[in-house]
């Protein structure tokens, strides 16, 4: 019933057909009927354009492309800025035609465009300003420019970056709000991890990389279990569940939380089997008692020695830096049974946010500047949903997406 569009009473039931004339009027006057004089010249300089081509050109001309920030096999990233306001910096991600995908525009590019358009307007989601095509029919995504690297950089740079519970609370707050926004718009991100959390110039954390995202499935529609980078993948996916919910993202949020605290990946399994073993050892063995129905999942296998579900004491020992309330929240994100796992909304209502210390204001959050731009570009040009150097990360997300989802 929660999904029923009728539940939320309309605030304004009348939808006056009121399009934005500027964006859609379809009458860009520039370049259209040209005067007889000079047409010859104009036509040579710029072949006559159709309405559609003109609109694309207008979109493209809103931005000035600057230096190349990075080059990858999936995309090149350029720095750019708005024509109207040079202080509005953008990252232009030019997606290359991919050799191994023979069927046109790649799925991850489609998903990224679709979901960033759908989710726009939230402070903690990377902004997709525009999309245009260049002459050679390559896609150009104009993204918000986020120069300060990503959370992974900060977590790893133990020598130079110091941060505390108040900073973690600020970062977690921004991440949780981003995930809440996704779920409230019926979108699953399916690849939450520290290097998909980019940092804006003002310290704001932005969730990026929607190359694996999808809308919530209608009841009965199967989804692929092969998503989310392994270290952040929840047990239901490791067990091959084909029906799942926002709870999969919440598990990843929990592991980012844990990683922020201990400054190392909490469950860095080298294989799926090892990942399950780690979960069983650290969090507890999923059983019918703590997760009714789990043994019915297709790929349910657990080590024979059953570990009881970790109590708060166990978590306090390792994650106590965020206080008792923080540990309580962490434990709730790592509940094995996805139906009982905390939701994004419930997370936002948790008492930890109100407990001391207060979250650090975003401007005062620890930052790393050296190499951040490079890293940010590297994050963007990475193929969506995939770490560029799998061996180093030791945690690739499977690309074997089940695009067809059985019906």
């Amino acid at each position: 019933m929660a999904n029923s569009p009728l539940v939320a009473r309309p605030t304004d039931a009348l939808q006056p057909s009121k399009p934005l004339p500027s964006s859609s009027g379809g009458t860009p006057s520039g370049g259209l009927p040209r005067s007889a004089r000079g047409q010859r010249i104009a036509a040579e300089a710029r072949p006559t354009m159709d309405l559609m081509e003109q609109m694309n050109e207008d979109e493209k001309n809103k931005y000035i492309k600057g230096k190349k920030l990075g080059e990858g096999t999936y995309a090149n990233v350029y720095l750019g800025h708005s024509c109207l306001d040079a202080s509005v910096k953008v990252a232009i991600k030019k997606i290359k035609v991919q050799k191994e995908y023979q069927d046109g525009i790649a799925p991850d590019a489609i998903r990224e465009m679709k979901y960033l358009q759908k989710l726009r307007g939230h402070a903690n989601i990377i902004i997709l300003h525009s999309v245009f095509s260049s002459k050679d029919q390559n896609l150009n995504l104009v993204l918000e420019y986020l120069p300060l690297g990503d959370l992974e950089m900060l977590i790893r740079d133990v020598d130079h970056v110091r941060y505390g519970a108040a900073d973690i609370k600020a970062w977690m707050g921004m991440l949780t709000r981003a995930v809440w926004w996704c779920h409230d718009n019926y979108v699953l991100h399916r690849d939450i991890k520290p290097n998909n959390l980019l940092i804006a110039a003002d310290g704001e954390v932005k969730l990026a990389d929607f190359g694996l995202a999808r809308s919530f499935a209608d009841p009965g529609v199967r989804m692929t279990a092969n998503v989310i980078t392994r270290w952040y993948r929840p047990p239901e996916l490791l067990f091959g569940a084909r029906h799942y919910s926002g709870a999969v993202d919440i598990w990843s949020v929990g592991l980012v939380f844990a990683e922020l605290i201990i400054r190392a990946p909490y469950l860095p399994g080298n294989s799926e089997v090892e990942q399950i073993a780690l979960i069983c050892r650290e969090i507890g063995t999923p059983t019918e008692e703590n997760w009714p129905g789990v043994t019915q999942l297709k790929e349910y296998t657990v080590p024979s020695d059953v570990t009881p579900v970790a109590g708060k004491d166990k978590y306090m020992g390792r994650f106590g830096a965020v206080g008792s309330d923080g540990v309580d929240l962490l434990a709730k994100t790592l509940i094995l049974d996805p139906r009982r796992r905390i939701t994004a909304r419930e997370m936002l209502e948790h008492r930890w946010w109100k407990a001391d210390p207060k979250p650090t204001p975003k401007y005062d959050l620890p930052k790393k500047t050296a190499g951040a731009e490079e890293k940010a570009a590297a994050d963007l040009k990475r193929r969506n949903g995939m770490a560029e150097d799998d061996d180093v990360r030791g945690s690739k997300v499977a690309r074997k997406l089940d695009f067809g989802a059985a019906r």
Binding site: M1, S4, P5, L6, A8, R9, P10, T11, A13, L14, Q15, S17, P19, S23, S24, G25, G26, T27, P33, A36, Q39, R40, T48, D50, L51, M52, M55, N56, K68, L69, G70, E71, G72, T73, K99, E100, Y101, Q102, D103, I105, P107, I110, R111, K114, Q117, S134, K135, D136, Q137, N138, R214, E373, E374, E388, K400, L401, D402, F403, G404, A405
Partner: protein
């Protein structure tokens, strides 16, 4: 947290793709006249030798036949005669015909409702700013189905499509065009979930016969799969309005009941101490919930309530739904037989199609060739850009520590691609 209505107003469907009837007509007019102009230019420039005087060229380019009847425009210098162009209403007729063809193709593929509807919307949006004289509608049907599948999270193989339709059409040649013509807005909102919600709501009243609900749902669903797609409903109405209109066609009583129950609020005539009867019970409860979810602060005044769920609004809503209902009723599912009828085809469609074949764009109609040219053009430009930027690039390298080894990840990627073959992007459609 914004209401669903407020969120809908943030969507590209509302912002970029909703129009009043007059706006829509104006756009189509414009697209038609632009196409005449461009095609005229292209025909003349491809026929005339490169030394042909410019004045000759421009005089025609800027004088599209204003009468709209496309009388041949004989050239005093002996250049080719211009074809008889399609009028906007002829374009509209063919677009309707090809839309019905698209729906038939969707039936043939057996795609999910969302794919069918998204593909149709893509198709109709594309031909809002592009004339069917410029790009071939027949080929764009498969392109729309292909891109529509992708937008709905299913990623078919091109060869699969070619096999299913027994065609060699280069579907990818039109993919980018279609995406661009849709301004890369891949999200289309549909009325199907709204219908499910309405059925749940009707059942929750508890006093409606289940068989009646099921019959209404079945018919409304059938209408949704055809009528809004064959008409301009998506350009004018929201998904929920379309749903209500379809439900109203299926069972007017049920649609009105839902609207009555939703917009039930009658402000108390005296003061706030009026009898509880002034505020109908079933609504006040759900309103409270909605308000909490809506994150609104404090309690709503009666005026505010009336503005949202009052009877005044109800009448407006009903008016809108009635208008949408009228639009849908012009293309009820049964009208399919009209579009597939041999005699209609012969008498109405074929003559216009013949006309179309004579006035199509010489440069754009062949999608594969067009794509090849664009790619070449782009690459040439790209090369010169890269060369120009080379010096800058070196500077970047100095700052950022050299170029990334492009070769190594490339290799790995191929490996991944190879593995991917085991699972060629999911089940067949």
């Amino acid at each position: 947290m914004a209401s669903e209505d407020a969120r809908y107003r943030e969507t590209s469907q509302f912002e970029a793709w909703s129009f009043s009837p007059s706006q829509l007509a104006a756009m189509r007019e414009k697209t038609n006249s632009l196409a005449r102009q461009r095609i005229t230019e292209r025909i003349l420039s491809s026929a005339s030798n490169p030394l042909a005087p410019a004045s000759n060229n421009t005089s025609h380019a800027n004088t599209p036949d204003p009468s709209g009847n496309g009388t041949p425009n004989p050239n005093e210098n002996g250049a080719p005669t211009l074809p008889d162009f399609l009028k906007p209403e002829e374009e509209a007729l063919l677009i309707s015909f090809y839309t019905s063809e698209l729906l038939r193709a969707a039936d043939h593929l057996g795609v999910p409702d969302e794919v069918r509807a998204t593909a149709t919307v893509f198709f109709r949006r594309f031909f809002l700013t592009n004339s069917i004289m410029t790009y071939p509608p027949q080929e764009m049907i498969l392109v729309a189905l292909f891109v529509g599948s992708k937008a709905e999270g299913r990623f078919p193989r091109v060869v699969e499509f070619q096999q299913r339709f027994n065609t060699k059409q280069d579907i990818l040649a039109g993919e980018f065009l279609l995406a661009q013509g849709n301004r890369f807005n891949f999200e289309v909102r549909h009325p199907f979930r709204a219908l499910m919600g309405a059925m749940m709501e009707l059942r929750s009243y508890g006093d409606i016969d289940e068989q009646r609900i099921q019959a209404a749902e079945k018919r409304a669903h059938e209408i949704l799969l055809s009528s809004p797609l064959m008409t301009d409903a998506y350009f004018h109405y929201t998904p929920s309005q379309i749903m209500f209109a379809a439900l109203s066609l299926a069972d007017r009583g049920l649609a009105e009941r839902l609207i009555q129950e939703t917009f039930h609020f009658v402000p108390p005539t005296t003061n706030s101490d009026s009898t509880p009867a002034a505020t109908p019970l079933p609504g006040s409860d759900s309103l409270g919930t909605a308000r909490k979810e809506g994150g609104g602060k404090g309690t709503m005044t009666n005026d505010e309530r009336a503005a949202i769920i009052g009877t005044g609004i109800r009448d407006k809503v009903m008016g809108t739904i009635e208008a949408c209902r009228n639009m849908l009723s012009s293309e009820l599912p049964e009208r399919k037989s009209h579009w597939t009828s041999e005699s209609i085809f012969k008498s109405q469609i074929r003559p216009v199609r013949k006309k179309l074949l004579k006035c199509r764009d010489p440069d754009r109609w062949n999608l594969s060739e067009l794509q090849r040219q664009r790619r070449e053009q782009g690459l040439r430009r790209e090369d010169s850009e890269e060369r120009a930027a080379a010096s800058n690039g070196n500077k970047d390298a100095a700052i950022f520590g050299g170029d990334l080894p492009a070769g190594a990840p490339e290799k790995k990627r191929r490996k991944v691609g190879g593995n991917g073959l085991e699972d060629p992007f999911g089940d067949p459609l």
